[in-house]
Amino acid sequence: MVRPYLMTGGRTRPVTDGLRFETLVFAKPAALHAPLKYESRRIVELCQAPRSMAEIAGTLGIPLGVAQVLVADLMTGNIVTIQEATEVTVAMLERILDRVRAL
């Protein structure tokens, strides 16, 4: 068993706030060449397609708080970027409704 604080170097707070459950994280293919430790490398691999913080934590089997610390570090290193929340318009709601009905 690996204790969570070993992954984060003993830190419990991310260097950046605003990483919510649904915040999307992206990593470019070039980021795959960065010399990263195990969990951070997996985050970069996973986020070749946009993934939410919740998916990252769930897929890697790490607590959300640990994922927040790791992603914040990757952001600082310019290795990943995040998508800030945008407003949901009426047109978007209509598209969501159509899609859900068509499922």
Binding site: T12, F21, E22, P50, P63, V90, M92, I96, V100, L103
Partner: protein, 193 residues
């Protein structure tokens, strides 16, 4: 050095719906019925707010976590809908604020055998003015109360839809989610008038 972002990432809007209700009411089942990914479980660490709630948690705060489950529906290449289940037990309600912040709306699942279990969820969404609907989940053995009786028992206004569903079936869950989105749309339209 690693190439920094030389182009903006694609603009994707994430939309969040919260699935709530009492412990064991079928939230995880509902999410699993409609999610395009296997429902994932993540753990959220206890925060300061939880201290003192329960002596057990005070023993080792950093190791105490609560499981949250969620699913995903890709609407198109620019919208992703996430479904988040709220932790069932009341003692985890401190987590709700973070989960619910920015949510489009909520589904409160009701088990008619334990109708009172959904009171905290109904109160929570009513107090915050978050659009929600009540979905009465069918369990084997059938409903003991019809929709009108559930509405009366919970004393929710006529603005709050009360519908029946079966959390195990995709077609039924689809209707629940669609109804909620419709509800949010009509709230927006009314506000715009």
């Amino acid at each position: 050095m690693y190439a920094p972002y030389d182009q903006a990432p694609p603009l994707i809007t994430t939309v969040k719906i919260v699935i709530s209700g009492g412990f064991g009411v079928g939230k995880t089942t509902l999410i699993g019925s409609i999610s395009e990914i296997e429902p994932l479980v993540t753990e959220a660490a206890m925060t300061e707010a939880a201290l003192g709630v329960d002596d057990v948690f005070a023993v080792d705060k950093t190791m105490t976590t609560v499981a949250l489950d969620f699913g995903r529906i890709t609407v198109d290449d620019s919208i992703i809908l996430y479904l988040f289940g709220t932790p069932g037990q009341d003692r985890f309600m401190f987590l709700w604020d973070e989960l619910v912040e920015g949510a489009l709306g909520a589904v409160v699942l009701v088990d008619t055998r334990r109708i009172q279990d959904c009171y905290p969820a109904v109160d929570y969404f009513e107090e915050r003015g978050i659009p929600f609907l009540l979905a009465v989940n069918h369990f084997d053995g059938g409903l003991r109360y019809d929709v009108a009786e559930v509405r009366e028992a919970l004393d929710v206004g006529f603005g709050v839809p009360v519908i029946e569903c079966d959390a195990r079936h995709r077609s039924s869950v689809k209707q629940v989610v669609a109804r909620l989105v419709q509800e949010v749309l009509s709230v927006r339209m009314a506000a715009a008038r």
